[in-house]
């Protein structure tokens, strides 16, 4: 039995010996390097492009929008984003001109000598400016998408309530900061078509984008994933752009072209987490029962639509958290501004709305004079109750027990007593805070139905089994987890499984590597395909006591041994896209996180002393990998909360260096203590639920609650900086 075992990561050896091959480790004969010349201005009309003297321009390949063979569009949801700016730009760093040459150093000099002259138009930078629509920069009103979740009557329910508490919460952009920057290597020729190798999460997203860009038939586009040094969502949709650029340069030059961003370019030009602003108006009874939740959730999508409607959707659905409330209204809005488009980042809208909710509920508790954990206990949703979007929660869950366990493991109650006693006279004040939350795994609503993902497994005559799926290994453990699942389903050893390199010429479309779906949804398809292959063998003469022999015989007889499995909608799970109601997710993982902090009143710095993460995840397929996912996600959440701040100047990230955009080092993190519970999910492989994004939701509100307690202030903005805490301490607490 491999499921549940700490099976060592299958590709670990190549990673610890430096043998793993990432895109920048590839070089082809005759290869050119490529660079991107970008808009200096946040919004305006392109009047002229000048190639200044001092560069041997005839040696360089130059590509502009005019060179695009197909449609100048980055295919995603709305067709609003061009691959290269044509007559206008809508954000700083928007790509305009591509250059290629074999000398990378000369290219950098050439890049400086291209002048893009822009006649400026007034830019919009903030959510308020976008909503005011005095200047319209997108569509008719700067709004990409809205959603309305409505249940009961918040107005009249609030009017009669014992207490109504309002709050406004903001979160800033966050850079994914994978240590390997974006990169693509393309070979594009009229005779053969287009092949790209690169750093990516979703080969078929790139495939679809290149189809549109080149206007070629599907079989002439091939996308191959190289070892990828981190993604976190930052390589979900963005790679389609850099792949298109490398391919266009290759198409025009007739040579292989590699584009690898340096850190500054990657930070300044690629997607980040959507900034958000959430307003809460919560009505409760005097003993803490929720009567009405009125929530206004707005995210800033940047200059183009990209994935904002989907981020908004997830954020909107998670805005009411793991609670039952009879009257709910959630208005979700995604707006356009003239900054580089924001995009996917682990959590995908949920960290933003959950931060607001869990911070707000602590304030509600404080306002009516009950303990924060008491307030949660009174309102946790239970099996059989209906969520804000109308989903009857059919599965067993026990948030009160999870809360009890998290508070016990962190010694929460005893510490509160000690901290209360000591803080008044202490220079180093202590705080402890928690967040209770859940995360829906898989695509929202009917998303999985539309994806209709496919996995294929095939056996070799030697009895090795190859798993063919487009889901990528980006560090989360796809290869190992798929191997464990397939090995169990087939009754063979995990070493006999090979998860093949995702290559659209070879693997079927299993959907993107996002949304915490890889293990739960696609892993289930791996399981069922493997079971199908096993059933094929079992039905033959001789059975499978000797697996390799059985494979050899079958292949000799029939030519091939292969089975595929395609996602089918789960019975009884229904989502209404039109009315935005129903079963939003097949299942949820549930969690309570607790953060303990020290607040230094001399320097206003916050340091973390302990972090407890308790979650119910269905089934832990691999404890080492699962623990690593939680620890890593918590670390990113800590970064977002305390360290990572994007400094914006005129619509551009001004601190685009790792020396000025601060992520935690090994000295900045506390012990992160991870605990799992398991209530198997029937549709998951071995009962597993998705967990990749879950940890991103809990750190910010837990820390914000702890800091608010320690410093005696109302933290309502992420990131929490010493400067902002100093300013807050000058305001009397309401």
């Amino acid at each position: 039995m491999h499921i549940g075992q700490p099976t060592p990561r299958k590709e670990a050896r190549s990673k610890v010996t430096g043998q793993a091959r990432y895109v920048d480790d590839l070089a082809f004969p005759g290869m050119l390097h490529g660079v991107t010349v970008r808009s200096p201005s946040p919004r305006g009309l392109i009047r002229d492009i000048r190639y200044e003297p001092g560069i041997p321009w005839d040696e360089l390949t130059v590509v502009t929008a005019a060179d695009i063979p197909g449609a100048n569009v980055v295919a995603l949801i709305a067709d609003d984003q061009p691959c290269l700016a044509d007559d206008r730009v809508n954000h700083a760093e928007e790509p305009v001109v591509l250059l290629a040459h074999r000398d990378r150093s000369l290219l950098e000099e050439a890049r400086r000598r291209v002048t893009i002259e822009i006649e400026p138009l007034p830019p919009v930078y903030t959510i308020d400016e976008a909503l005011a629509a005095t200047t319209v920069i997108w569509g008719e009103d700067n709004i990409f998408k809205t959603y309305l979740v409505s249940h009961g009557d918040v107005e009249s329910a609030s009017a009669g309530a014992d207490a109504v508490v309002e709050g406004e919460y903001e979160t800033d952009a966050q850079e994914q900061l994978y240590i390997e920057p974006n990169g693509m290597l393309a070979v594009a020729r009229r005779e053969d078509g287009v092949t790209v190798w690169g750093s990516m999460q979703c080969p078929y997203y790139i495939h679809r984008a290149l189809l549109r860009l080149f206007g070629l038939p599907a079989e002439r586009i091939r996308v191959v994933q190289m070892e990828t040094g981190g993604g976190f969502g930052g390589k979900e949709e963005y790679p389609s752009i850099i792949a298109g650029h490398a391919a266009l340069l290759s198409w025009k030059s007739g040579r292989p072209v590699k584009i690898v961003y340096d850190r500054a370019e990657d930070m300044v030009a690629t997607t980040k987490r959507h900034p958000s602003r959430t307003r809460h108006r919560t009505a409760v009874t005097k003993d803490g029962r929720l009567v009405a939740m009125d929530i206004d959730f707005v995210i800033d999508g940047g200059a183009y639509c990209t994935l904002s409607p989907v981020v908004l959707s997830r954020g909107t659905i998670h805005a009411t958290g793991p609670y039952y409330c009879p009257n709910v209204r959630v208005r979700g809005t995604a707006v356009a501004t003239n900054v580089p488009p924001h995009g996917a980042f682990r959590g995908f809208g949920a960290p933003q709305s959950i931060f607001a909710l869990e911070r707000h509920l602590d304030r509600v508790a404080h306002a009516i004079g009950i303990a924060p954990d008491e307030l949660r206990r009174k309102n946790f949703i239970q099996t059989g109750q209906t969520s804000a979007v109308g989903q009857v929660m059919r599965e067993p869950m026990d948030m009160p027990a999870l809360l009890d366990r998290a508070l016990a493991l962190s010694d929460y109650h005893a510490k509160r007593v000690r901290f209360d006693a000591a803080n008044a006279s202490a220079k180093m004040k202590k705080g402890i805070g928690f967040a209770a939350f859940m995360h829906g795994a898989g695509f929202t609503g009917s998303g999985e139905d539309h994806l209709a993902s496919v996995v294929t497994v095939e056996a070799t005559p030697e009895g090795r089994v190859r798993v063919l799926s487009s889901c990528t290994e980006i560090g989360q453990g796809t290869i190992t987890v798929f191997s464990q699942i397939a090995a169990d389903a087939l009754g063979i050893d995990v070493d006999a499984i090979e998860v093949v390199q995702p290559d659209t010429a070879v693997v079927p479309d299993s959907g993107p590597t996002v949304a915490s779906r890889t293990c739960m949804v696609v892993g289930k398809l791996v399981e069922s395909a493997a079971m199908g292959l096993r059933a094929t063998l079992e039905s033959g003469a001789g059975g499978i006591s000797d697996f390799p022999a059985a494979c050899r015989n079958h292949i000799q007889q029939f030519g091939a041994l292969r089975a595929s499995s395609q996602y089918r909608p789960t019975a009884g799970v229904r989502w209404d896209d039109e009315r935005y109601q129903g079963d939003a997710y097949g299942t949820y993982a549930w969690a309570v996180y607790v953060a303990e902090v020290t607040f230094d009143t001399t320097t206003f710095e916050v340091s973390l002393d302990d972090f407890v993460a308790v979650q119910e995840v269905g089934r832990v397929i691999n404890p080492v990998l699962a623990t690593g996912q939680i620890e890593g996600g918590v670390a990113q959440g800590i970064g977002w909360t305390l360290f990572e701040r994007v400094v914006w100047r005129e619509g551009r990230m001004a601190n685009a260096q790792m020396t000025n955009y601060i992520m935690p080092t090994s000295m900045d993190l506390p012990p992160i203590r991870v605990f799992f519970e398991e209530r198997p999910y029937a549709e998951g492989p071995g009962g597993a639920k998705g967990i990749g994004e879950l940890p991103m939701d809990g750190a910010a509100p837990a820390i914000a609650n702890a800091v608010s307690y320690a410093a005696g202030v109302n933290v309502s903005h992420i990131p929490i900086t010493p400067e902002s805490l100093m300013a807050l301490m000058e305001i009397p607490v309401a």
């Binding site: 950098e108 000099e109 500054a264 320097t603 206003f604 601060i662 900045d668 100093m726």
Partner: protein, 291 residues
């Protein structure tokens, strides 16, 4: 890597005489290059001026830590790692060691040099405030000879220093005899390691029988250059330590510094925290007065 390689020339003649001759013969043309931890960062960002650079890295005359009876002399090319590993510095000049330990990570500490740090002239440099507290003296050399400059008079403004285009720093000399001083070094950065400081506070006081016989206070990241804080010192020097002392010194400190808002922090924060750190230091003196 944004620089055009062909526009740069780095030479390593290998002997001090040749280096000084190059610097003298073509003033302003050749620029000294030590460990590279500052210049290479600028180079890769496309922000280093193209031209000629002469490497000091392999010049043995600029290396070594010598402990004499009255002074300790550090070669300009002493790395942070070498500072941290030196037993005399650890025991008698702890503030320099704290500064070195908090500069970058291990890899930076193996290449960054004190001379490079001084000559780079950043107001956020980590060791300079400690050097100011210890009354460091620099030896500057050129083809014309040598001269000595008290480090307290070396920086005159943002990236302005008493270093001519044909000169390099040869060594840093520290007077001994302050082991018994009460000393503190506090760097407030954006994170616990690999951080550029937002406020840096270094101080030492000769506390004798409850009286502050002498005191040094130096700050980084609160002015265009690292600074001594003479008004804060004057509020403390010669005074008997008591609970009323801190606020006067903190008020005086505001006159010694001129912090700004920048990408990392705000003027308000810097001033507030610098004062808090000074108060913390004076509070420490109060707690030690009975010893």
């Amino acid at each position: 890597m944004r620089s055009y390689l062909a526009a740069f020339d780095l030479q390593a003649p290998g002997d001090l005489g040749t280096v000084l001759r190059l610097l003298a013969e073509q003033p302003g043309v050749w620029r000294p290059f030590a460990g590279g931890t500052d210049l290479m960062v600028l180079f890769e960002a496309g922000k280093l001026a193209p031209g000629k650079y002469v490497s000091l890295w392999n010049l043995k005359e600029l290396r070594g830590i010598e402990a004499g009876s009255d002074t300790v002399t550090l070669g300009a090319l002493t790395t942070y790692a070498e500072v941290i590993a030196d037993p005399v510095l650890q025991s008698e000049f702890p503030l320099i060691c704290r500064a070195a330990e908090q500069t970058g990570g291990v890899a930076t500490q193996n290449r960054g040099t004190l001379g490079g740090n001084i000559a780079n002239g950043s107001p956020a440099a980590d060791t300079p405030p400690a050097l100011l507290v210890y009354d460091a003296e620099l030896e500057l050399i050129s083809a014309r000879g040598a001269r000595r400059v008290p480090y307290g008079r070396f920086h005159s403004g943002y990236k302005l220093m008493d270093l001519r285009s044909d000169e390099i720093i040869r060594s840093i000399t520290l007077p001994r005899g302050r082991r018994s001083w009460v000393q503190t070094y506090r760097k407030v950065g954006t994170r616990k390691a690999q951080a550029i400081s937002k406020v840096c506070f270094a101080a030492g006081a000769d506390l004798d029988d409850g009286i502050i016989r002498d005191v040094r206070i130096a700050c980084g990241s609160v002015a265009p250059a690292v600074v001594r804080c003479p008004r804060a010192e004057a509020a403390l020097r010669g005074r008997t330590v008591d609970d009323t002392l801190a606020s006067g010194a903190a008020a005086a400190l505001a006159e010694d510094v001129a912090p700004i808002d920048d990408m990392r922090s705000t003027a308000r924060y810097r001033l507030h925290v610098a004062r808090n750190l000074l108060i913390e230091f004076v509070t420490e003196l109060v707690s030690r007065r009975t010893h």
